[in-house]
Point group: C2
Chain length 143, copies 2
């Protein structure tokens, strides 16, 4: 039951909430022992703050829940590949696993040869089409 | 009067405040039209949050002051070269100028071949010795 697809669907629900607010539709959740301990979506426009990416909020929220700043034994499910900022934050967090929906060839960290913490496992391509389509549809509608 | 050294001294005062809290002593200020619109220091231990670097807080604070998320016509003075996370955030902010005190060869963005926004001017080496010495002294005392 608790598959990567199961949790990525929850992250997609967050992306849909962002879309309703006319935000770039990216969502994420953080899971610890099959329990969701943080959920968030991009709020850069709503908060007028470039740092308000889904991942940044979720990292802060999960650390607050856990009472410590390191996210060991945690997995983050993100609908879109993290940018440089979020990659840096995930690196500092020492999170155990990063599961990515759609790749972001232009803004994502992978093509910039950045790496996460040596302990962090990375999985890509989970619900890739749905995660990609929601972002593409958003920008298509903006043009 | 309003030289880079003048404003870097203010950033150093923030680093000293961090030191008093037993935080890695990094401080920064953001200036717009020779006026300080944000000041902050590293609070990762106090807030139990890896994202609470001085620059991240200052970017959010300055955007809040300006009422917009882009920091055009702003200069950030930082005592230590920004890490990957803060480099990514500064890139998104489109800040006009980044003035750095001490280099951080290991954790800083420059050696990782990351760049800021094409419009952003970067200056390094302002009060380099003082900015470097406060961090080195902190880690020396920890050993």
């Amino acid at each position: 039951m608790f598959t990567d697809e199961y949790f990525m669907k929850m992250a997609l629900q967050e992306a849909e909430t962002a879309l309703e607010k006319d935000e770039v539709p990216v969502g994420c959740i953080i899971v610890s022992n099959n329990r969701i301990i943080a959920r968030s979506h991009n709020l850069t426009e709503t908060l007028n703050d470039v740092t308000a990416h889904a991942e940044m909020q979720a990292i802060t929220s999960a650390a607050n829940y856990l009472g410590g700043k390191y996210l060991q034994n945690c997995t983050i499910y993100i609908t879109l590949e993290p940018c440089v900022m979020c990659c840096g934050a995930l690196n500092w967090s020492q999170i155990s696993k990063v599961v990515i929906g759609a790749r972001d060839e232009q803004r994502g960290f992978i093509n910039k040869n950045l790496t996460l913490h040596p302990k962090t496992e990375v999985v890509t391509g989970i619900l890739e089409n749905e995660c990609s389509e929601i972002v593409k549809g958003f920008f298509r509608a903006k043009r």
